[in-house]
Amino acid sequence: MSVLGRIARCLRPRVLGFVALMAAAGVCGANQGAVYSSGNLGPTILKAPGHCVRPTEWMRHNHMKLLLEERTEWVRQGIRDRKDSLENCVKCHAADAPNGAVFGAKQDFCVSCHNYAAVKITCFECHSAKPKGKVPAFHPLYGPMGPHGEGANAHGLALMMRESASTGRLGLGASK
């Protein structure tokens, strides 16, 4: 009992700190839309153009359930016209990102929050974090024509794959 008590005492300040962080997150949530940073405490959330398929507060808590439901219909039944598909999420939320993606850099839409909450994202191990048909002109693999243009270069892609194979899977140390 005494050991447990000691552990509990050690934990208490940390628990309080966690509550404070959560409160900060709540404040951050209230400021929906705008590029927001609460100093060192909260995540930076990039603003996306237009309106979300659900209220921001609801999405903050339930986006994973929505994606789970949507993915089953998409993959197993081929229902591809849902507005709340991952592909559409990416389309909006990568639109104004500096690197045109929702995942890959620290400030990206998915990464900033997930890093903050210390929840690993596995979506983009398979899914593209960039919207369809919007590959930057300077992309090393594809020329200005995009992935289906003349610039498609299998050799370049192979090189990159081999490179990424030796450097580890795409991801961020903090989210591992």
């Binding site: 229902i79 592909e87 398979c126 593209s128 192979a158």
Partner: protein
């Protein structure tokens, strides 16, 4: 929900129009979009067995040097195009020579979209599955990478992703540690288009591939397989593939 369905129908209607526009020489694909559109108009949501996508390969029109279908597949699905022992290959050109007569054939080999798919039977988690329209593919969310499907497939159609993948086609997610194979470009089919290999074979290849709905008796493919001799590869195994080959009996 009804609004969603209406929207979907409109989208599919547009898709059907696209499908009939991209019909290539020797490839009649009016049914590709139409079958799906009919299905959607009548029923709400996918209906099991209403559609069964299939392919007919005319080996007489498939020449041994041509790899248009393979290149198109690599490009569409963002495969590396490499042929290392560890590379994924969703479609490959096979060269066959009869051991006794010396007659040779060339043909594409890919997932045969079996009715009784061994990969579906052996998959421990149900990741390997057959869709309502007969397309066999991997639900990568459920794949644990055990590779039992690679062991079980009689056609060597499955590949395993051996390394991290970047820059996927947004329509074709694929990644490390999961099994994968040809899915008849289901992302294109769902939008009323035909598989990339069929399109490429029709435009720059020999026009050897015919794609359509085997369950629609009026479709070109149904009428052809009803009148000419075709082969299902390893039919003795009872897997009932949706891909048939003509000119190789």
């Amino acid at each position: 929900m009804s609004e969603v369905n209406k929207e979907r129908r409109q989208l599919l209607g547009a898709g059907a129009a696209v499908a009939s526009l991209v019909v290539a020489p020797g490839v009649f694909l009016v049914t590709a979009g139409k079958g799906r559109a009919d299905e959607e108009a009548g029923e709400a949501g996918p209906q099991w067995g209403k559609v069964r996508w299939g392919m007919l390969v005319d080996t007489a029109k498939c020449s041994s040097g041509c790899t248009q279908c393979v290149s198109a597949c690599d490009k569409e699905n963002h495969l590396s195009g490499e042929t290392l022992p560890t590379s994924s290959q969703w479609i490959r050109k096979m060269e066959l020579t009869d051991r006794e007569t010396g007659k040779s054939y060339s043909l594409p080999m890919m997932c045969q979209h079996c009715d009784n798919a061994p990969c579906v039977d052996v998959c421990p988690t149900g990741a390997s599955f057959k869709r309502w329209d007969g397309i066999v593919s991997v639900d990568r969310h459920l794949c644990i990478g055990c590779r039992y499907c690679l062991m079980a497939c009689p056609y060597k159609a499955r590949s395993f992703v051996h390394h991290p993948v970047t820059d996927q086609n947004p329509d074709v997610p694929r990644g490390q540690g999961c099994a994968e194979s040809c899915d008849f470009c289901k992302h294109r089919i769902d939008e009323g288009q035909i598989p990339a290999c069929v399109e490429a074979c029709g435009s720059t290849g020999g026009g050897a591939l015919l794609f359509g709905d085997l369950n629609d008796p009026k479709s070109e493919i149904s009428q052809r397989v009803a009148t000419i001799a075709t082969l299902q590869v390893r039919a003795d195994l009872g897997t009932e593939p949706a891909v048939r080959y003509e000119g190789i009996l």
